[in-house]
Amino acid sequence: MPENTPYMVTAYIITAAILIGYAVFLYRRTLKP
């Protein structure tokens, strides 16, 4: 079902963005608590 591919790719990108984004956010917050 190739028509499903964009949905899967979007979900994977959003998940990575949320997790990496929070890791960066935490890192920056802990630099200047």
Binding site: N4, A11, T30, P33
Partner: protein, 222 residues
């Protein structure tokens, strides 16, 4: 601070392993016959959902013990677990509709599982807003503990909603009384992903806990 560094390292390991989960899920796990590649969203959605629920249970357990022991470590842990649980809840509520659109034909439906998951997410939001609104530390911890325990009471309804109500959401295929109904390769990918989400939860919570500790040291009345 040692705790902070430990948390950072655990997070780095978790994020590196997440890349391995992506490779395994996308390249080395078979495509499901009826759903196609959209089914692969499952490997991110389910571990995030398990940690959204577990995160709130841990908030509730820490809150119960806090009310008896008044140990500030329990309150700090509850706060950290709530923030990370809300993060995983965000993943659940974004990946779920992205899977739902091609499979159900709709992004969202007000069925029991989806609505209760949204309610759980809103409990997290409310919990963190409450913490931000009360300035006196002892009062904040006590009020938050009560809300945290209420949130914990919601979790069984979220998990069992697919049995209690007629819902569009699929029945559990792994966390159920009988054996998991998944082929071995798919189950192995799910287990690996769950392990990585666990590492990320531990890394994030450790860092978040250390951040509160740092703030308390720099601003003693925070």
């Amino acid at each position: 601070m040692r705790l902070l560094k430990t948390g950072r390292w655990i997070t780095v390991v978790g994020l590196s392993l997440l890349a391995a989960v992506y490779v395994r899920a996308l390249a080395f796990t078979p495509v499901e016959r009826t759903q196609g590649v959209a089914q692969k969203i499952f490997y991110l959605h389910v571990p995030a959902a398990i940690w959204t629920e577990t995160g709130m249970i841990l908030v509730g357990v820490a809150s119960i013990f806090y009310l008896f022991l008044k140990d500030p470590r329990l309150d700090r842990f509850a706060e950290a677990s709530a923030e990370v649980g809300m993060l995983f809840g965000t993943i659940v509520l974004t990946t779920g509709p992205i899977w739902g659109k091609p499979i159900w034909g709709t992004w969202w439906t007000w069925d029991a599982r989806l609505t209760l998951t949204l309610l759980l997410f809103l409990m997290y939001v409310g919990y963190l807003l409450l913490r931000g609104a009360v300035t006196e530390p002892g009062l904040r911890a006590r009020y938050a503990a009560v809300l945290g325990i209420s949130g914990m009471c919601l979790v069984p309804f979220v998990h069992l909603s697919v049995y209690m109500f007629r819902t569009l959401h699929p029945q559990p295929i792994v966390l159920k009384p009988s054996a998991p109904s998944l082929p071995g390769a798919m189950l192995a990918t799910l287990a690996f992903s769950f392990l990585v989400f666990t590492v990320l939860y531990v890394g994030f919570v450790t860092q978040r806990y250390a951040l509160t500790l740092l703030r308390e040291q720099t601003e003693p009345h925070a």
